[in-house]
């Protein structure tokens, strides 16, 4: 048995296909095709949640994505848990598990419901007013406490093991919604041969036809008619049908975001299948057929479990065969609720009373009610409800009076009429237009290439819905260039017995300004009518302010059921018309979208590319510890048995200066600059001169931006008159190429020169140290390595290990050294040969940490470490690299600015600690007098600091105001626990005359 409230012969589910599921640990039986909401209702479980603020007992209100109450936690296994799933949208499967939220210790006994008793305290704006003072308490006390108490559901604690997919797509027509309008539009468009994507957030296409069993179209039931169209669409190659797919966002240039839920309804999903797929569709034409959402009525205690929208109850009956109660009252201001009452009555459910707040009701409805023996009270309202964990009764009074009659009920169906769903329309930046006659906002002013059809466009009559949708599709096809559109026939006979006329917006009788009752406007955020009135009294004039003050419409349901009521109550309080107060703008997403879907493939290994050099495996084999440098993995240090990082780096630094070291420099950016104007172009880009560089020689160059501040540096070799091999910093590679392209294309397009990144064409093996030449010589052919023939700062082309090389003689260590560039695929093999030779000389592999120490010993800067975007070449002691002859280069005017040539700028200096063992902290501030009062005058800061095994003492680089005039001075570095005395020294700590470079 799949629930006591399941009515035999009703609904479309198969009674034999049962599934076992649990809610809050209790086991139940449902049917295949049930949602959690329908299965719980079938089992008589009406209490499903506690409200957000007051912890009031709540039950399912709707049968769709607008559900404000029934939010549950769904759990597949310990890692797969999702909070805030709407029970109305979640299909169950065998073994499905869900738990209620926002309650402790249990759903039926919830301590938090004390908030409801304290509700006079928790009025709108409570937080803003109460937690203002003292200011410091906000961060320390209020915010953490409020955060702990707020929020619905629990986040999963384990990493999500599922994967998520993405698809970029282009379609002629995207149809949002698979009800009668969407299906008609999709088929009419598809028949014209254009490509169509049609999606619906529900498991099944058909929209209202899935439960409006009074509809007949050309002799078929509405349901069969819809299934027939769906089948036709499915058979067409130019159509993509996406059920369980929510169009959650409408972005610029007709970009529609869809979330396709692929496995959430399956008991045993395919292990390879993504859980959800994000679709980013660029549509030439968008047809919005989102339908309309039934509103509730705003009256006292209108939130008890068992109160729900009339259409939802009808849907539970006609789709799932579930009666939402056994004694069901109806309270309506709209015709459509009668259909629900009639269907339930005909199914054998007791309907004690239909309360209609209108006095003027369609006589045909009253006649039908009479035939079924139903009591209808027109001109009456429900002024209160009773019951605790489920509604038990209603109090019905004549409009304007408080004297009332009580009816016992276990469910109450309500309807305040239908709100066209303008979410996507509004997201597309279009403004809703108020139609005073029908009291609806309508999507009449599209700003993108879109059209709304069906109920969301305010069309009630089904026959009109279908023909409007077909016309819109034909118009779309024509605008897409379909010359002779195929004729589309409209149904000849459409009958539906019950209309959607009648509505009520704002609070109902008994929930007026003078009534101290809880009449909920926004269920999900627990906003009552009086909260909105309070906001108006406190001075809010715009609906945008009312919304933020009361938080109405700001919950995850975005006020799908509540917005219009809130607006009407605010307008009433302000004494204005609704359009003067204005509708808030809807934002994406239409319904919440999981982070997994938004991130899709960009998780785990694919979060960001991990770049490895062509010699990475060699470094692994040498036991390297790697560090991340941007996306690159670089060998940081190469510890031998028993060594920690410091011991390893000390050994590497000593070995390089005593024998040699081998280093992977492949990550350096490399740009090949080719063309007759190559030198001229480099003259513009760099501060120094290149025209004078001879073929076969290299030069260290500095780049500044227009402001004159250093932004990159590197060595450039001239391979031919018209060909340069430029190197950049690892991190600057892409930026430098962009910078150069920018100047070439926009400022100097007349130059005959082209730029090509060759960063990854070449693997770079640096061999540095007195034995460097001995190590590489046996492997090199076609190049004379002698200093006379190939001095420091030169480049040659030849072969090494039989493959072509661009061999640079250059140094970032201060030692004689080479950088062997070989085509990347050969790099590892060449390195292995170099390494075999290197070991004969006792050379080491060294990493980036040793490289940093070695260059600091020589006072070589690292851009981004010694420089911070405010350091000129002069500040960095590199005036020699700024041409005095050139009349133009990028930064030349910046460097002439008064404050860039002023005395006393911060300048790069070396620091030696008085106690040689102390290694300064990088970033530490430097002062002249440690005894001055705080805040002290800070002269600069430490930019680089290391222990230098080669020097036998610590070394540091720093930028210090007027630093170069302070040589020999004592300065101080105040730290938390002590003050360190330092001496200002030259930036070069090793081999000051540079003799080793030329060895």
């Amino acid at each position: 048995m799949s629930g006591l409230y399941r009515i035999a012969g009703k609904g479309r589910l198969t009674p034999a296909k049962t599934v076992a599921f649990s809610f809050d640990g209790k086991s139940y039986t449902g049917l295949e095709g049930d949602t959690l909401a329908s299965a719980l209702l079938a089992n008589g479980v009406v209490l499903t949640a506690r409200s957000f603020k007051y912890h009031r007992p709540r039950g399912t209100m709707t049968e769709g994505s607008e559900e404000p109450n029934s939010m549950v936690g769904v759990r597949r296994d310990t890692a797969r848990q999702q909070p805030n799933v709407r029970a109305t949208m979640q299909e169950i499967y065998d073994g499905f598990q869900a738990v209620s939220q926002n309650r402790w210790p249990s759903l039926s006994f919830d301590i938090g419901s004390i908030n409801s008793l304290l509700s006079p305290l928790f009025v709108a704006g409570f937080y803003y007013k109460t937690f203002m003072w003292p200011r410091v308490a906000w961060e320390k006390i209020y915010e953490p406490k409020i955060r702990a108490a707020a929020g619905l559901g629990l986040s999963p604690t384990e990493q999500d093991p599922d994967h998520y997919a993405n698809k970029f797509a282009y379609a002629d027509v995207v149809v949002v919604g698979g009800g009668p309008a969407g299906l008609s539009a999709a088929l009419a468009a598809a028949k014209q041969g254009v490509s169509v994507v049609v999606c619906d957030e529900n498991a099944e296409f058909g929209g209202a036809l899935l439960y409006e069993n009074d509809v007949e179209i050309d002799g078929k039931s509405g349901y069969d008619w819809a299934k027939d169209i769906e089948a036709q669409l499915a058979a067409m190659d130019n159509v993509t049908i996406l059920p369980r797919t929510t169009a959650f966002g409408y972005y610029a240039h007709n970009m529609i975001g869809l979330c396709e839920r692929i496995t959430d309804h399956l008991a045993v999903p395919d292990a390879d299948s993504p859980r959800e797929r994000l679709w980013q569709i660029r549509a030439k034409k968008v047809i919005i057929a989102q339908g309309a959402i039934e509103r509730h009525l705003v009256f006292a205690n209108n939130d008890r479990p068992g109160i729900m929208m009339a259409s939802a109850a009808r849907s539970y009956l006609n789709k799932y065969g579930v009666a939402v109660g056994s004694k069901i009252g109806v309270y309506t201001a709209c015709d459509s609720a009668y259909a629900a009452a009639f269907d339930l009555k005909e199914a054998g459910v007791d309907i004690p009373v239909i309360v209609d707040s209108r006095t003027d009701v369609d006589p045909a409805l009253l006649e039908r009610a009479r035939e079924l023996g139903l009591t209808v009270q027109t001109g009456h309202s429900v002024i209160d409800t009773t019951g605790k964990l489920r509604i038990s009764g209603i109090k019905v009074a004549k409009n304007g009076q408080m004297a009332n009659t009580k009816y016992d009920v276990d469910a109450l169906l309500i309807s305040g009429g239908w709100t066209p769903s303008l979410h996507l329309y509004s997201q597309s930046r279009a403004k809703p237009v108020w139609d005073g006659d029908v009291k609806r906002f309508l999507p009449e002013n599209p700003v993108q290439d879109q059209v709304s059809v069906g109920a969301c466009a305010g069309t009630d009559d089904l026959s009109d819905v279908i023909s409007d949708a077909q016309s819109a599709a034909l118009a779309a096809a024509k605008s897409l260039g379909v010359k002779k559109p195929k004729k589309i026939s409209s149904p000849k006979k459409v009958t539906s017995h019950y209309g959607h006329a009648g509505d009520h917006i704002g609070s109902s009788h008994g929930a007026g300004a003078d009534d101290a009752v809880k009449a909920f406007v926004d269920y999900q955020h627990d906003v009552v009518a009086n909260d909105i009135r309070l906001a108006v009294r406190e001075g809010m004039r715009s609906i945008e302010h009312v919304k933020r003050f009361t938080t109405t419409g700001m919950a995850t349901d975005q006020g799908k059921t509540s917005n219009l009521h809130g607006l009407a109550i605010a307008a009433d309080g302000l004494g204005k018309e609704i359009p003067q107060v204005g509708l808030t703008t809807f934002r994406s997403p239409f319904t919440p979208v999981s982070f997994g879907t938004i991130v899709n493939h960009g998780a785990g290994d694919l979060f960001d590319p991990v770049r490895r050099t062509p010699m990475h495996d060699w470094a692994v084999a040498q036991g390297a510890v790697f560090e991340d440098v941007g996306q690159w993995k670089r060998g940081w240090y190469f510890p031998q048995a028993g060594e920690d990082m410091r011991a390893s780096v000390n050994r590497e630094c000593k070995t390089v200066r005593e024998s040699a070291g081998v280093f992977d420099a492949s990550t350096l950016g490399k740009i090949e600059v080719v063309g007759p104007d190559a030198a001229k172009f480099l003259d513009i880009i760099y501060t120094n001169a290149w025209s004078t560089l001879k073929v076969g020689r290299c030069r260290y160059g500095i780049m500044t931006h227009e402001d004159g501040f250093i932004f990159d540096d590197g060595v450039v070799g001239r391979l031919a008159e018209d060909r340069f091999h430029v190197t950049t910093t690892t991190g600057g590679a892409a930026g430098v190429l962009n910078h150069m392209e920018d100047y070439l294309q926009t400022e100097f397009p007349e130059l005959d020169v082209w730029l090509t990144s060759v960063s990854e064409q070449w693997g770079v093996i640096a061999v540095q140290g007195p034995k460097a030449r001995d190590i590489i010589a046996p492997l090199v052919e076609g190049i004379d390595l002698s200093t006379e023939s190939m001095p420091h700062m030169s480049v040659r082309e030849g072969t090494i290990c039989g493959v072509p090389t661009r061999l640079f003689r250059m140094s970032f260590t201060g030692e004689m050294g080479y950088e062997i560039n070989v085509p990347a695929d050969y790099a590892q093999s060449v390195l292995e040969a170099v390494w075999t030779n290197a070991q004969k000389y006792g050379a080491c592999a060294y990493g980036t940490e040793a490289m940093h120490v070695l260059r600091a010993e020589k006072g070589y800067i690292i851009v981004g470490q010694e420089t911070d975007g405010s350091i000129t070449p002069h500040d960095a002691g590199l005036s020699w690299a700024v041409s005095k002859k050139k009349t133009d280069f990028v930064g030349i005017r910046g460097l002439m600015r008064d404050d860039l040539i002023a005395e006393g700028r911060k300048q790069l200096v070396g620091l030696k600690t008085k106690d040689p063992k102390i290694v300064l902290e990088e970033g530490a501030q430097i002062v002249a007098d440690p005894n001055q009062p705080i805040p002290m005058k800070m002269l600069g800061h430490v930019t680089s600091s290391y222990w230098s095994e080669n020097c036998g003492h610590s070394i540091a680089l720093a930028i210090v105001e007027g630093g170069r005039s302070k040589m020999g001075d004592a300065l101080y570095v105040p730290m938390l626990d002590r003050t360190i005395e330092v001496e200002v020294v030259d930036t070069v700590f090793v081999d000051q005359d540079g003799g080793r470079l030329n060895g």
């Binding site: 970029f168 797509a169 960001d608 991990v610 770049r611 060449v830 040969a833």
Partner: protein, 187 residues
């Protein structure tokens, strides 16, 4: 000085294989590649010297042979930029050594590597990460484009109805291969 050591080539995606329903994914064999920059006036002559005409229409390519892996292929990359491939590994720059035209030829044979996708779902694999329109009417056989796949820059080239050649930089190939492999799951 003579040495007997001959360096060996290590291909970045050596031995990898992936696929899914309706798509196979394999690393391409090495090719020779150059980045070629030519001015308008020299396009014809350079094409002649290369043995394959340089296409001037955006997002198109030409082949000298009947398939991408044989002969020479020229892919339009930008208004004055072509990616020239030689499936047999021939010296492309050599063919242009004698030209008098002012051009830029830069060897990028090792900078780029390629991944081949084959099968009816190949295009859907690319759609997982490439925001460009890859529909038949916009991206027919022969179409090529420098674009992105996920977070990596790639050149996508449609070599046949159901065949795509995806070029990327060497160090991004691990990411691109993994991306394509994941996208091929659960199409």
């Amino acid at each position: 000085m003579a040495n007997s050591i001959q360096a060996l080539r290590n291909l970045p995606l050596d031995g990898r294989l992936a696929g899914g329903a309706g798509v196979s994914i394999t690393p391409a064999e090495p090719m020779s590649r150059v980045s070629l920059r030519v001015k308008d006036k020299d396009v014809k002559a350079i094409g002649k010297a290369l043995g394959v005409a340089l296409p001037s229409k955006p997002k198109t390519s030409n082949m000298s042979g009947d398939r991408a892996s044989a002969g020479r292929c020229a892919l339009w990359i930008g208004p004055d930029e072509w990616l020239v491939l030689d499936g047999e590994g021939a010296d492309i720059a050599g063919a242009l050594a004698k030209t008098k035209a002012v051009i830029s030829v830069v060897n990028i044979s090792h900078r780029n590597t390629a991944i081949l996708l084959e099968g009816q779902n190949a295009v859907d694999v690319l759609r997982a990460g490439c925001p460009q329109n890859l529909n038949d009417d916009v991206f027919p056989v022969g179409a090529c484009s420098r674009t992105i796949l996920g977070k990596a820059e790639v050149v996508i080239w449609r070599t046949d109805e159901q065949s795509y050649h995806v070029e990327c930089w060497r160090s991004f190939s691990d990411y691109v291969f993994k991306f394509i492999s994941q996208a091929a799951k659960g199409l």
